[in-house]
Protein backbone atom coordinates (compact mmCIF):
# COMPACT_ATOMS: atom_id res chain seq x y z
CA UNK A 1 0.00 0.00 0.00
CA UNK A 2 2.92 2.33 0.68
CA UNK A 3 3.70 2.68 -3.00
CA UNK A 4 0.27 4.17 -3.72
CA UNK A 5 0.54 7.91 -4.09
CA UNK A 6 -3.10 8.65 -3.34
CA UNK A 7 -5.35 6.54 -1.12
CA UNK A 8 -8.46 8.35 -2.40
CA UNK A 9 -8.83 9.86 -5.82
CA UNK A 10 -12.04 11.58 -6.88
CA UNK A 11 -12.18 12.60 -10.53
CA UNK A 12 -14.75 15.07 -11.87
CA UNK A 13 -17.64 13.58 -9.92
CA UNK A 14 -21.23 14.73 -10.35
CA UNK A 15 -24.33 13.63 -8.54
CA UNK A 16 -27.94 14.86 -8.73
CA UNK A 17 -31.06 13.97 -6.79
CA UNK A 18 -34.19 14.74 -8.80
CA UNK A 19 -33.79 18.45 -9.59
CA UNK A 20 -30.99 19.17 -7.12
CA UNK A 21 -27.37 19.00 -8.22
CA UNK A 22 -25.70 17.94 -4.98
CA UNK A 23 -22.14 17.60 -6.31
CA UNK A 24 -21.11 19.50 -9.45
CA UNK A 25 -17.89 18.11 -10.85
CA UNK A 26 -15.61 17.72 -7.86
CA UNK A 27 -12.03 16.38 -7.92
CA UNK A 28 -10.02 15.51 -4.84
CA UNK A 29 -6.87 13.58 -3.94
CA UNK A 30 -5.86 12.33 -0.51
CA UNK A 31 -2.45 10.91 0.41
CA UNK A 32 -1.99 7.96 2.75
CA UNK A 33 -1.95 9.19 6.34
CA UNK A 34 -3.31 12.60 5.43
CA UNK A 35 -6.12 14.17 7.51
CA UNK A 36 -8.56 16.14 5.39
CA UNK A 37 -11.48 18.28 6.49
CA UNK A 38 -14.51 18.93 4.30
CA UNK A 39 -16.04 22.15 5.52
CA UNK A 40 -19.24 23.70 4.41
CA UNK A 41 -22.75 24.64 5.52
CA UNK A 42 -25.72 22.28 5.33
CA UNK A 43 -26.49 21.39 1.72
CA UNK A 44 -22.92 22.02 0.53
CA UNK A 45 -22.66 18.46 -0.82
CA UNK A 46 -20.23 17.16 1.81
CA UNK A 47 -22.32 14.21 2.88
CA UNK A 48 -23.12 13.20 -0.70
CA UNK A 49 -19.43 13.31 -1.58
CA UNK A 50 -18.52 11.22 1.47
CA UNK A 51 -21.31 8.74 0.68
CA UNK A 52 -19.90 8.30 -2.80
CA UNK A 53 -16.43 7.66 -1.38
CA UNK A 54 -18.05 5.24 1.07
CA UNK A 55 -19.67 3.41 -1.83
CA UNK A 56 -23.34 3.76 -0.93
CA UNK A 57 -24.06 6.40 -3.57
CA UNK A 58 -22.88 6.05 -7.14
CA UNK A 59 -21.69 9.09 -9.09
CA UNK A 60 -23.74 10.09 -12.17
CA UNK A 61 -20.48 11.08 -13.82
CA UNK A 62 -16.80 10.80 -12.95
CA UNK A 63 -14.81 8.15 -11.14
CA UNK A 64 -13.69 7.37 -7.62
CA UNK A 65 -10.65 5.23 -6.79
CA UNK A 66 -9.89 3.95 -3.31
CA UNK A 67 -6.34 2.57 -3.12
CA UNK A 68 -6.54 2.36 -6.89
CA UNK A 69 -9.74 0.28 -6.82
CA UNK A 70 -13.34 1.06 -7.70
CA UNK A 71 -16.44 0.09 -5.70
CA UNK A 72 -18.09 -1.68 -8.59
CA UNK A 73 -15.59 -4.52 -8.71
CA UNK A 74 -13.94 -4.56 -5.29
CA UNK A 75 -16.72 -4.09 -2.79
CA UNK A 76 -15.56 -6.72 -0.32
CA UNK A 77 -11.93 -5.55 -0.30
CA UNK A 78 -12.88 -1.92 0.06
CA UNK A 79 -15.24 -2.62 2.97
CA UNK A 80 -12.23 -4.14 4.77
CA UNK A 81 -10.28 -0.96 4.21
CA UNK A 82 -12.82 1.63 5.30
CA UNK A 83 -14.03 2.66 8.71
CA UNK A 84 -16.88 5.08 9.16
CA UNK A 85 -18.98 6.84 11.70
CA UNK A 86 -22.24 8.35 10.59
CA UNK A 87 -23.83 11.37 12.12
CA UNK A 88 -26.98 9.73 13.44
CA UNK A 89 -26.30 6.02 13.79
CA UNK A 90 -27.86 4.48 16.87
CA UNK A 91 -26.68 1.06 17.90
CA UNK A 92 -28.95 -1.50 19.53
CA UNK A 93 -30.16 -0.04 22.83
CA UNK A 94 -30.14 -3.26 24.82
CA UNK A 95 -26.65 -4.42 23.87
CA UNK A 96 -23.71 -3.48 26.03
CA UNK A 97 -20.85 -1.43 24.61
CA UNK A 98 -18.71 -4.57 24.70
CA UNK A 99 -21.31 -6.69 22.87
CA UNK A 100 -21.76 -3.99 20.24
CA UNK A 101 -18.05 -3.93 19.60
CA UNK A 102 -17.82 -7.74 19.53
CA UNK A 103 -20.67 -7.84 17.02
CA UNK A 104 -18.91 -5.47 14.63
CA UNK A 105 -15.57 -7.19 15.26
CA UNK A 106 -17.11 -10.45 14.08
CA UNK A 107 -17.88 -8.86 10.68
CA UNK A 108 -14.12 -8.37 10.23
CA UNK A 109 -13.31 -11.79 11.75
CA UNK A 110 -11.56 -10.09 14.66
CA UNK A 111 -11.38 -11.57 18.15
CA UNK A 112 -11.82 -10.09 21.60
CA UNK A 113 -8.15 -9.11 21.80
CA UNK A 114 -8.63 -6.40 19.19
CA UNK A 115 -11.84 -5.29 20.90
CA UNK A 116 -9.87 -4.78 24.14
CA UNK A 117 -7.30 -2.70 22.25
CA UNK A 118 -9.97 -0.47 20.78
CA UNK A 119 -11.65 0.07 24.15
CA UNK A 120 -8.30 1.28 25.47
CA UNK A 121 -7.86 3.51 22.44
CA UNK A 122 -11.23 5.22 22.91
CA UNK A 123 -10.93 5.29 26.72
CA UNK A 124 -14.26 3.59 27.32
CA UNK A 125 -13.02 0.61 29.37
CA UNK A 126 -15.21 1.50 32.31
CA UNK A 127 -18.35 1.49 30.21
CA UNK A 128 -17.86 -1.90 28.60
CA UNK A 129 -20.77 -3.45 30.45
CA UNK A 130 -23.14 -0.51 30.11
CA UNK A 131 -26.12 -0.78 27.77
CA UNK A 132 -25.88 1.54 24.79
CA UNK A 133 -29.01 3.41 25.85
CA UNK A 134 -27.32 4.27 29.16
CA UNK A 135 -24.31 5.93 27.49
CA UNK A 136 -24.05 9.70 27.20
CA UNK A 137 -23.92 11.39 23.79
CA UNK A 138 -20.16 11.69 23.92
CA UNK A 139 -19.70 8.09 25.01
CA UNK A 140 -21.91 6.89 22.18
CA UNK A 141 -19.91 8.92 19.72
CA UNK A 142 -16.69 7.40 21.09
CA UNK A 143 -18.22 3.95 20.75
CA UNK A 144 -19.12 4.73 17.14
CA UNK A 145 -15.57 5.89 16.56
CA UNK A 146 -14.26 2.71 18.18
CA UNK A 147 -16.43 0.59 15.88
CA UNK A 148 -15.01 2.54 12.93
CA UNK A 149 -11.44 1.82 14.09
CA UNK A 150 -11.86 -1.93 14.73
CA UNK A 151 -10.50 -3.02 11.37
CA UNK A 152 -7.52 -0.59 11.47
CA UNK A 153 -8.94 1.20 8.45
CA UNK A 154 -6.78 2.78 5.80
CA UNK A 155 -9.45 5.42 5.38
CA UNK A 156 -11.59 6.74 8.15
CA UNK A 157 -14.74 8.66 7.17
CA UNK A 158 -16.30 10.69 9.95
CA UNK A 159 -19.51 12.58 9.27
CA UNK A 160 -19.76 15.40 11.80
CA UNK A 161 -18.34 13.32 14.64
CA UNK A 162 -18.70 16.03 17.29
CA UNK A 163 -21.95 17.74 16.32
CA UNK A 164 -24.10 18.19 19.40
CA UNK A 165 -21.35 17.32 21.87
CA UNK A 166 -20.18 19.52 24.72
CA UNK A 167 -16.62 20.95 24.57
CA UNK A 168 -15.15 18.26 26.84
CA UNK A 169 -16.64 15.39 24.88
CA UNK A 170 -15.47 17.06 21.66
CA UNK A 171 -11.94 17.39 23.03
CA UNK A 172 -11.93 13.67 23.94
CA UNK A 173 -12.80 12.72 20.36
CA UNK A 174 -10.09 15.05 19.05
CA UNK A 175 -7.48 13.47 21.31
CA UNK A 176 -8.34 10.00 20.04
CA UNK A 177 -7.96 11.25 16.48
CA UNK A 178 -4.65 12.97 17.22
CA UNK A 179 -3.31 9.70 18.67
CA UNK A 180 -4.40 8.01 15.50
CA UNK A 181 -2.65 10.62 13.41
CA UNK A 182 0.66 9.95 15.13
CA UNK A 183 0.52 6.36 13.95
CA UNK A 184 0.35 7.61 10.33
CA UNK A 185 -1.48 4.54 9.03
CA UNK A 186 -4.87 6.06 8.51
CA UNK A 187 -6.18 8.78 6.27
CA UNK A 188 -9.09 10.77 7.59
CA UNK A 189 -11.91 12.49 5.78
CA UNK A 190 -13.89 14.53 8.24
CA UNK A 191 -16.95 16.63 7.53
CA UNK A 192 -17.72 19.39 9.92
CA UNK A 193 -19.31 22.79 10.48
CA UNK A 194 -16.67 23.57 13.09
CA UNK A 195 -13.66 25.38 11.72
CA UNK A 196 -11.65 24.91 14.90
CA UNK A 197 -12.07 21.15 14.46
CA UNK A 198 -10.57 21.40 10.98
CA UNK A 199 -7.78 23.72 12.13
CA UNK A 200 -6.88 21.53 15.07
CA UNK A 201 -6.93 18.12 13.42
CA UNK A 202 -6.42 18.34 9.72
CA UNK A 203 -3.46 18.74 7.36
CA UNK A 204 -5.62 20.05 4.61
CA UNK A 205 -8.97 21.79 4.41
CA UNK A 206 -11.46 21.70 1.55
CA UNK A 207 -14.22 24.26 1.56
CA UNK A 208 -17.41 23.28 -0.23
CA UNK A 209 -20.54 25.21 -1.02
CA UNK A 210 -23.48 24.33 -3.26
CA UNK A 211 -21.79 21.25 -4.70
CA UNK A 212 -18.52 22.96 -5.61
CA UNK A 213 -15.09 23.18 -4.03
CA UNK A 214 -14.40 26.85 -3.30
CA UNK A 215 -10.85 26.36 -2.09
CA UNK A 216 -8.44 23.85 -0.67
CA UNK A 217 -5.04 23.72 1.02
CA UNK A 218 -3.47 24.05 4.46
CA UNK A 219 -5.01 26.55 6.82
CA UNK A 220 -2.48 29.22 5.79
CA UNK A 221 -2.92 28.54 2.10
CA UNK A 222 -6.66 28.76 2.45
CA UNK A 223 -6.51 32.02 4.38
CA UNK A 224 -4.23 33.44 1.65
CA UNK A 225 -7.06 32.93 -0.83
CA UNK A 226 -8.93 35.80 0.67
CA UNK A 227 -7.81 39.32 1.29
CA UNK A 228 -6.64 39.58 4.83
CA UNK A 229 -9.24 37.49 6.67
CA UNK A 230 -7.92 36.09 9.90
CA UNK A 231 -10.21 33.13 10.35
CA UNK A 232 -11.90 30.46 8.26
CA UNK A 233 -15.30 31.80 9.15
CA UNK A 234 -14.42 35.30 7.94
CA UNK A 235 -12.97 33.81 4.80
CA UNK A 236 -16.10 31.76 4.28
CA UNK A 237 -18.29 34.82 4.61
CA UNK A 238 -16.15 36.67 2.09
CA UNK A 239 -16.38 33.73 -0.36
CA UNK A 240 -20.08 32.95 -0.02
CA UNK A 241 -21.71 35.73 1.94
CA UNK A 242 -22.81 33.20 4.59
CA UNK A 243 -21.57 31.74 7.85
CA UNK A 244 -20.03 28.28 7.87
CA UNK A 245 -22.46 26.97 10.44
CA UNK A 246 -25.62 28.09 8.65
Amino acid sequence: MTDIEYIVEVRQVRKSFKDVQAVKGVSLKIKPGEFLALLGPNGAGKTTLVEMIEGIQHPDEGEIFIAGKQWKHHQHELHQMIGLSLQETRFMDKLTAWETMRLFASFYKLNSHRVEEVFTLIGLEEKKKAYVDNLSGGQRQRLALGVALLNKPKILLLDEPTTGLDPNARREIWNILLDLKKMQNTSLILTSHYMEEAEYLCDRIVIMDQGNILGEGTLLEILALGDGQRSLDELFISLTGRHLYE
Partner: protein
Protein backbone atom coordinates in the same frame (compact mmCIF):
# COMPACT_ATOMS: atom_id res chain seq x y z
CA UNK B 1 -9.48 -17.22 15.93
CA UNK B 2 -11.96 -19.73 14.61
CA UNK B 3 -13.99 -19.99 17.76
CA UNK B 4 -17.72 -20.08 17.09
CA UNK B 5 -18.19 -17.07 19.36
CA UNK B 6 -16.19 -14.98 16.91
CA UNK B 7 -18.41 -15.96 14.00
CA UNK B 8 -20.64 -13.18 12.70
CA UNK B 9 -23.73 -15.38 12.46
CA UNK B 10 -23.33 -16.44 16.08
CA UNK B 11 -22.81 -12.83 17.14
CA UNK B 12 -25.81 -11.60 15.17
CA UNK B 13 -28.13 -14.26 16.58
CA UNK B 14 -26.84 -13.61 20.12
CA UNK B 15 -27.32 -9.85 19.68
CA UNK B 16 -30.88 -10.19 18.41
CA UNK B 17 -31.77 -12.66 21.09
CA UNK B 18 -30.31 -10.47 23.84
CA UNK B 19 -32.30 -7.57 22.53
CA UNK B 20 -35.55 -9.53 22.72
CA UNK B 21 -35.12 -11.00 26.18
CA UNK B 22 -33.71 -7.87 27.80
CA UNK B 23 -36.92 -5.98 27.14
CA UNK B 24 -39.28 -6.91 30.00
CA UNK B 25 -42.36 -5.85 28.07
CA UNK B 26 -41.49 -8.40 25.39
CA UNK B 27 -41.75 -11.16 27.95
CA UNK B 28 -45.09 -9.82 29.15
CA UNK B 29 -46.71 -9.39 25.74
CA UNK B 30 -45.15 -12.47 24.20
CA UNK B 31 -45.50 -14.96 27.04
CA UNK B 32 -47.74 -13.79 29.87
CA UNK B 33 -50.43 -12.05 27.83
CA UNK B 34 -51.33 -15.04 25.58
CA UNK B 35 -51.53 -17.26 28.66
CA UNK B 36 -53.79 -14.75 30.42
CA UNK B 37 -55.94 -14.54 27.31
CA UNK B 38 -56.19 -18.34 27.09
CA UNK B 39 -57.05 -18.49 30.75
CA UNK B 40 -59.66 -15.73 30.63
CA UNK B 41 -61.39 -16.87 27.47
CA UNK B 42 -61.05 -20.51 28.39
CA UNK B 43 -62.74 -19.92 31.73
CA UNK B 44 -65.40 -17.61 30.33
CA UNK B 45 -66.55 -19.99 27.65
CA UNK B 46 -65.88 -23.34 29.25
CA UNK B 47 -67.61 -22.81 32.59
CA UNK B 48 -70.76 -24.85 32.96
CA UNK B 49 -74.09 -23.15 33.72
CA UNK B 50 -74.01 -19.73 35.19
CA UNK B 51 -76.77 -18.56 32.84
CA UNK B 52 -77.94 -15.17 34.01
CA UNK B 53 -81.06 -13.45 32.74
CA UNK B 54 -82.11 -9.99 33.84
CA UNK B 55 -85.57 -8.71 33.03
CA UNK B 56 -87.65 -5.66 33.97
CA UNK B 57 -91.26 -6.17 35.04
CA UNK B 58 -93.73 -3.30 34.62
CA UNK B 59 -97.15 -3.43 36.22
CA UNK B 60 -99.81 -3.73 33.56
CA UNK B 61 -102.55 -1.12 33.20
CA UNK B 62 -105.99 -2.61 32.64
CA UNK B 63 -108.04 -0.97 29.90
CA UNK B 64 -110.73 1.50 30.93
CA UNK B 65 -110.52 1.22 34.72
CA UNK B 66 -106.80 2.02 34.79
CA UNK B 67 -106.37 -0.60 37.48
CA UNK B 68 -102.86 -1.96 37.88
CA UNK B 69 -102.42 -5.64 37.19
CA UNK B 70 -99.78 -7.75 38.92
CA UNK B 71 -100.35 -11.35 37.92
CA UNK B 72 -96.67 -12.21 37.38
CA UNK B 73 -95.53 -10.05 40.26
CA UNK B 74 -97.93 -11.87 42.58
CA UNK B 75 -96.59 -15.19 41.42
CA UNK B 76 -92.98 -14.01 41.94
CA UNK B 77 -93.85 -12.69 45.41
CA UNK B 78 -95.00 -16.17 46.33
CA UNK B 79 -92.20 -18.13 44.66
CA UNK B 80 -89.05 -16.00 44.35
CA UNK B 81 -86.65 -14.32 46.77
CA UNK B 82 -87.25 -10.57 46.92
CA UNK B 83 -84.60 -8.06 47.81
CA UNK B 84 -85.32 -4.35 47.31
CA UNK B 85 -87.38 -4.42 44.12
CA UNK B 86 -85.67 -7.43 42.54
CA UNK B 87 -87.12 -10.94 42.51
CA UNK B 88 -84.55 -13.68 42.04
CA UNK B 89 -85.34 -17.25 41.14
CA UNK B 90 -82.78 -19.97 40.49
CA UNK B 91 -83.64 -22.89 38.23
CA UNK B 92 -81.64 -26.03 38.85
CA UNK B 93 -80.12 -28.32 36.27
CA UNK B 94 -77.03 -30.40 36.93
CA UNK B 95 -76.30 -31.16 33.32
CA UNK B 96 -76.38 -27.70 31.83
CA UNK B 97 -75.84 -25.66 34.96
CA UNK B 98 -78.22 -23.46 36.91
CA UNK B 99 -80.05 -20.47 35.46
CA UNK B 100 -80.66 -17.40 37.57
CA UNK B 101 -83.46 -15.06 36.53
CA UNK B 102 -83.68 -11.60 38.06
CA UNK B 103 -86.92 -9.66 37.63
CA UNK B 104 -86.64 -5.98 38.49
CA UNK B 105 -89.99 -4.42 39.32
CA UNK B 106 -89.98 -0.89 38.00
CA UNK B 107 -91.88 1.82 36.10
CA UNK B 108 -92.29 1.77 32.33
CA UNK B 109 -89.93 4.69 31.74
CA UNK B 110 -87.23 3.35 34.03
CA UNK B 111 -87.50 -0.05 32.35
CA UNK B 112 -86.55 1.58 29.04
CA UNK B 113 -83.57 3.28 30.68
CA UNK B 114 -82.41 -0.02 32.18
CA UNK B 115 -82.69 -1.67 28.77
CA UNK B 116 -80.69 1.09 27.09
CA UNK B 117 -77.97 0.72 29.69
CA UNK B 118 -77.84 -3.04 29.15
CA UNK B 119 -78.89 -3.77 32.75
CA UNK B 120 -81.87 -5.77 31.53
CA UNK B 121 -82.45 -7.39 28.16
CA UNK B 122 -86.22 -7.89 28.26
CA UNK B 123 -89.14 -5.74 29.45
CA UNK B 124 -92.25 -7.59 30.61
CA UNK B 125 -95.70 -5.99 30.72
CA UNK B 126 -97.50 -7.80 33.53
CA UNK B 127 -101.02 -8.16 32.06
CA UNK B 128 -103.83 -10.32 33.43
CA UNK B 129 -104.14 -11.99 30.04
CA UNK B 130 -100.51 -13.11 30.32
CA UNK B 131 -97.17 -11.32 30.15
CA UNK B 132 -96.06 -9.45 27.03
CA UNK B 133 -92.32 -9.50 26.29
CA UNK B 134 -90.43 -6.67 24.59
CA UNK B 135 -86.91 -7.37 23.39
CA UNK B 136 -84.57 -7.18 20.39
CA UNK B 137 -84.96 -10.49 18.52
CA UNK B 138 -81.43 -10.09 17.10
CA UNK B 139 -79.95 -10.17 20.58
CA UNK B 140 -79.19 -13.80 21.50
CA UNK B 141 -78.94 -13.01 25.21
CA UNK B 142 -82.38 -11.32 25.17
CA UNK B 143 -83.86 -14.22 23.25
CA UNK B 144 -82.55 -16.72 25.80
CA UNK B 145 -83.88 -14.59 28.68
CA UNK B 146 -87.29 -14.41 27.02
CA UNK B 147 -87.40 -18.17 26.51
CA UNK B 148 -86.49 -18.85 30.11
CA UNK B 149 -89.00 -16.34 31.47
CA UNK B 150 -91.82 -17.43 29.16
CA UNK B 151 -91.23 -21.09 30.00
CA UNK B 152 -91.20 -20.22 33.65
CA UNK B 153 -94.48 -18.28 33.37
CA UNK B 154 -96.21 -20.95 31.29
CA UNK B 155 -94.85 -24.18 32.76
CA UNK B 156 -93.53 -23.39 36.24
CA UNK B 157 -89.98 -23.68 37.57
CA UNK B 158 -89.70 -27.42 37.10
CA UNK B 159 -89.51 -27.19 33.31
CA UNK B 160 -85.82 -26.40 33.56
CA UNK B 161 -84.82 -29.52 35.42
CA UNK B 162 -87.12 -31.92 33.53
CA UNK B 163 -85.72 -34.54 31.16
CA UNK B 164 -82.11 -34.15 32.30
CA UNK B 165 -81.39 -37.70 31.25
CA UNK B 166 -81.73 -36.74 27.58
CA UNK B 167 -78.82 -34.30 27.83
CA UNK B 168 -75.29 -35.58 27.33
CA UNK B 169 -72.77 -32.75 27.84
CA UNK B 170 -69.73 -32.84 25.54
CA UNK B 171 -66.72 -32.79 27.82
CA UNK B 172 -64.37 -35.07 25.88
CA UNK B 173 -61.11 -33.53 24.75
CA UNK B 174 -61.28 -31.58 21.52
CA UNK B 175 -64.88 -30.47 21.71
CA UNK B 176 -64.74 -27.64 24.23
CA UNK B 177 -64.27 -23.98 23.40
CA UNK B 178 -60.82 -23.99 24.92
CA UNK B 179 -59.81 -26.79 22.52
CA UNK B 180 -60.95 -24.55 19.69
CA UNK B 181 -59.16 -21.53 21.14
CA UNK B 182 -55.66 -22.83 21.95
CA UNK B 183 -54.65 -23.81 18.37
CA UNK B 184 -55.89 -20.39 17.23
CA UNK B 185 -53.83 -18.61 19.89
CA UNK B 186 -50.75 -20.62 18.89
CA UNK B 187 -51.18 -19.58 15.27
CA UNK B 188 -51.82 -15.97 16.21
CA UNK B 189 -48.70 -15.97 18.39
CA UNK B 190 -46.57 -16.95 15.40
CA UNK B 191 -48.09 -14.19 13.27
CA UNK B 192 -47.79 -11.47 15.89
CA UNK B 193 -44.32 -12.55 17.00
CA UNK B 194 -42.98 -12.55 13.46
CA UNK B 195 -44.68 -9.43 12.16
CA UNK B 196 -43.75 -7.25 15.12
CA UNK B 197 -40.51 -9.00 16.01
CA UNK B 198 -39.06 -9.04 12.49
CA UNK B 199 -40.77 -6.26 10.54
CA UNK B 200 -40.73 -3.64 13.22
CA UNK B 201 -37.14 -4.42 14.19
CA UNK B 202 -35.97 -4.03 10.59
CA UNK B 203 -37.86 -0.76 10.08
CA UNK B 204 -36.54 0.64 13.33
CA UNK B 205 -32.95 -0.33 12.49
CA UNK B 206 -33.32 1.29 9.11
CA UNK B 207 -34.67 4.48 10.66
CA UNK B 208 -31.75 4.56 13.11
CA UNK B 209 -29.33 4.07 10.19
CA UNK B 210 -28.00 0.94 11.85
CA UNK B 211 -28.66 -1.18 8.75
CA UNK B 212 -26.67 1.30 6.73
CA UNK B 213 -23.82 1.17 9.23
CA UNK B 214 -23.80 -2.62 9.19
CA UNK B 215 -23.71 -3.00 5.43
CA UNK B 216 -20.70 -0.67 5.32
CA UNK B 217 -18.75 -3.60 6.82
CA UNK B 218 -17.93 -6.97 5.22
CA UNK B 219 -20.98 -8.45 7.00
CA UNK B 220 -22.96 -10.87 4.83
CA UNK B 221 -26.42 -9.34 4.42
CA UNK B 222 -28.12 -12.72 4.40
CA UNK B 223 -26.60 -13.46 7.83
CA UNK B 224 -28.31 -10.44 9.30
CA UNK B 225 -31.76 -11.52 8.09
CA UNK B 226 -31.14 -15.14 8.93
CA UNK B 227 -30.09 -14.20 12.48
CA UNK B 228 -33.16 -12.03 12.93
CA UNK B 229 -35.45 -14.83 11.77
CA UNK B 230 -33.66 -17.45 13.89
CA UNK B 231 -33.83 -15.37 17.06
CA UNK B 232 -37.52 -14.72 16.43
CA UNK B 233 -38.21 -18.38 15.69
CA UNK B 234 -36.62 -19.43 19.00
CA UNK B 235 -38.74 -16.90 20.81
CA UNK B 236 -41.92 -18.03 19.01
CA UNK B 237 -41.09 -21.61 19.96
CA UNK B 238 -40.58 -20.74 23.62
CA UNK B 239 -43.84 -18.77 23.68
CA UNK B 240 -45.76 -21.61 22.03
CA UNK B 241 -44.34 -24.22 24.40
CA UNK B 242 -45.28 -22.18 27.46
CA UNK B 243 -48.79 -21.53 26.16
CA UNK B 244 -49.24 -25.20 25.34
CA UNK B 245 -47.88 -26.30 28.72
CA UNK B 246 -50.36 -24.02 30.45
CA UNK B 247 -53.28 -25.26 28.33
CA UNK B 248 -52.28 -28.87 28.92
CA UNK B 249 -51.87 -28.58 32.68
CA UNK B 250 -54.76 -26.22 33.38
CA UNK B 251 -57.38 -27.24 30.83
CA UNK B 252 -56.15 -30.70 29.84
CA UNK B 253 -55.84 -29.66 26.17
CA UNK B 254 -54.22 -32.45 24.21
CA UNK B 255 -52.70 -33.08 20.81
CA UNK B 256 -54.74 -35.93 19.41
CA UNK B 257 -52.98 -36.02 16.06
CA UNK B 258 -49.36 -36.38 15.07
CA UNK B 259 -46.62 -34.44 16.86
CA UNK B 260 -44.26 -34.52 13.85
CA UNK B 261 -47.07 -33.00 11.75
CA UNK B 262 -47.52 -30.31 14.40
CA UNK B 263 -43.80 -29.51 14.38
CA UNK B 264 -43.71 -29.34 10.59
CA UNK B 265 -46.71 -27.03 10.51
CA UNK B 266 -45.19 -24.86 13.22
CA UNK B 267 -42.03 -24.46 11.15
CA UNK B 268 -44.02 -23.84 7.95
CA UNK B 269 -46.09 -21.16 9.72
CA UNK B 270 -42.94 -19.46 10.94
CA UNK B 271 -41.45 -19.53 7.44
CA UNK B 272 -44.65 -18.03 6.01
CA UNK B 273 -44.79 -15.14 8.45
CA UNK B 274 -41.02 -14.54 8.46
CA UNK B 275 -41.13 -14.14 4.67
CA UNK B 276 -44.18 -11.88 4.84
CA UNK B 277 -42.48 -9.82 7.55
CA UNK B 278 -39.36 -9.31 5.44
CA UNK B 279 -41.55 -8.28 2.50
CA UNK B 280 -43.58 -5.67 4.36
CA UNK B 281 -40.51 -4.20 6.00
CA UNK B 282 -38.40 -4.13 2.85
CA UNK B 283 -38.74 -0.43 2.02
CA UNK B 284 -39.92 1.99 4.64
CA UNK B 285 -37.66 3.72 7.15
CA UNK B 286 -40.52 5.42 8.96
CA UNK B 287 -41.59 3.58 12.08
CA UNK B 288 -45.07 5.13 12.04
CA UNK B 289 -45.68 3.98 8.48
CA UNK B 290 -44.32 0.59 9.51
CA UNK B 291 -46.69 0.49 12.45
CA UNK B 292 -49.64 1.14 10.16
CA UNK B 293 -48.51 -1.44 7.60
CA UNK B 294 -48.10 -4.16 10.21
CA UNK B 295 -51.50 -3.35 11.73
CA UNK B 296 -53.11 -3.36 8.30
CA UNK B 297 -51.74 -6.86 7.78
CA UNK B 298 -52.42 -8.49 11.15
CA UNK B 299 -55.68 -6.89 12.30
CA UNK B 300 -57.94 -8.12 9.46
CA UNK B 301 -56.52 -11.61 9.77
CA UNK B 302 -57.08 -11.62 13.52
CA UNK B 303 -60.71 -10.71 12.93
CA UNK B 304 -61.61 -13.00 10.04
CA UNK B 305 -59.30 -15.99 10.44
CA UNK B 306 -61.33 -17.69 13.14
CA UNK B 307 -58.83 -17.47 15.97
CA UNK B 308 -61.49 -16.74 18.56
CA UNK B 309 -64.75 -17.60 16.81
CA UNK B 310 -65.59 -19.66 13.77
CA UNK B 311 -65.30 -17.80 10.45
CA UNK B 312 -68.26 -19.81 9.12
CA UNK B 313 -70.51 -16.98 10.31
CA UNK B 314 -69.13 -14.80 7.50
CA UNK B 315 -71.05 -14.74 4.19
CA UNK B 316 -70.57 -17.81 2.00
CA UNK B 317 -68.84 -15.89 -0.77
CA UNK B 318 -66.11 -14.71 1.60
CA UNK B 319 -65.24 -18.07 3.08
CA UNK B 320 -63.02 -19.45 0.27
CA UNK B 321 -60.93 -16.26 0.41
CA UNK B 322 -60.70 -16.39 4.20
CA UNK B 323 -59.60 -20.02 4.10
CA UNK B 324 -56.57 -19.13 2.01
CA UNK B 325 -55.27 -16.47 4.38
CA UNK B 326 -52.07 -17.72 5.98
CA UNK B 327 -53.40 -17.27 9.50
CA UNK B 328 -56.62 -19.17 8.71
CA UNK B 329 -54.68 -21.94 7.06
CA UNK B 330 -52.41 -22.27 10.06
CA UNK B 331 -55.30 -22.06 12.57
CA UNK B 332 -57.44 -24.61 10.74
CA UNK B 333 -54.57 -27.03 10.37
CA UNK B 334 -53.42 -26.67 13.98
CA UNK B 335 -57.02 -27.42 15.01
CA UNK B 336 -57.16 -30.48 12.79
CA UNK B 337 -53.98 -31.80 14.45
CA UNK B 338 -55.04 -30.92 17.99
CA UNK B 339 -58.69 -31.92 17.86
CA UNK B 340 -59.33 -34.17 14.87
CA UNK B 341 -56.26 -36.37 15.10
CA UNK B 342 -54.79 -35.22 11.78
CA UNK B 343 -51.42 -36.62 10.71
CA UNK B 344 -48.74 -35.61 8.25
CA UNK B 345 -50.76 -36.87 5.30
CA UNK B 346 -53.57 -34.45 6.17
CA UNK B 347 -51.42 -31.37 6.59
CA UNK B 348 -48.60 -31.53 4.03
CA UNK B 349 -50.47 -29.43 1.46
CA UNK B 350 -51.05 -26.63 3.94
CA UNK B 351 -47.44 -26.88 5.12
CA UNK B 352 -46.28 -26.64 1.52
CA UNK B 353 -48.50 -23.64 0.72
CA UNK B 354 -47.34 -21.82 3.87
CA UNK B 355 -43.68 -22.55 3.15
CA UNK B 356 -44.04 -21.41 -0.45
CA UNK B 357 -45.79 -18.22 0.67
CA UNK B 358 -42.87 -17.52 2.99
CA UNK B 359 -40.14 -18.28 0.47
CA UNK B 360 -41.75 -16.25 -2.33
CA UNK B 361 -42.40 -13.27 -0.04
CA UNK B 362 -38.84 -13.46 1.24
CA UNK B 363 -37.41 -13.55 -2.29
CA UNK B 364 -39.49 -10.54 -3.41
CA UNK B 365 -38.72 -8.70 -0.18
CA UNK B 366 -35.00 -9.24 -0.60
CA UNK B 367 -35.06 -8.01 -4.21
CA UNK B 368 -36.64 -4.71 -3.27
CA UNK B 369 -34.95 -4.45 0.14
CA UNK B 370 -33.53 -1.03 1.02
CA UNK B 371 -30.55 -1.15 3.33
CA UNK B 372 -30.33 2.63 3.65
Amino acid sequence: MNKITNHQLYRLIAAHFAEIIREPSVIFWGVVFPILMAWGLGIAFTQKGGTQAKLAVVKGIAGVSGEQETKLISWLTANAVKKDSTFTITLKNEKIGDATLSFIETSASNAITLLKKGKVSVIIDDLSTGPKYQFDPANAEAKAAYQLAANLANNGPLFYSANQSEIQPLTMAGTRYVDFLIPGLLAMGIMMGSCWGISYTIIERRSKKLLRRMVATPMKKSNLLFALITARFSMNLAEALLLFAFAWIYFGVQVQGSWPALIILFIAGNIAFSGISILISSRTANTEVGNGMINALVTPMMVVSGVFFSYHNFPDWAIPAIQYLPLTMMTDTFRAIFNEGAGFIDVWREALVLTTTGVVSFAIGLRIFKWY
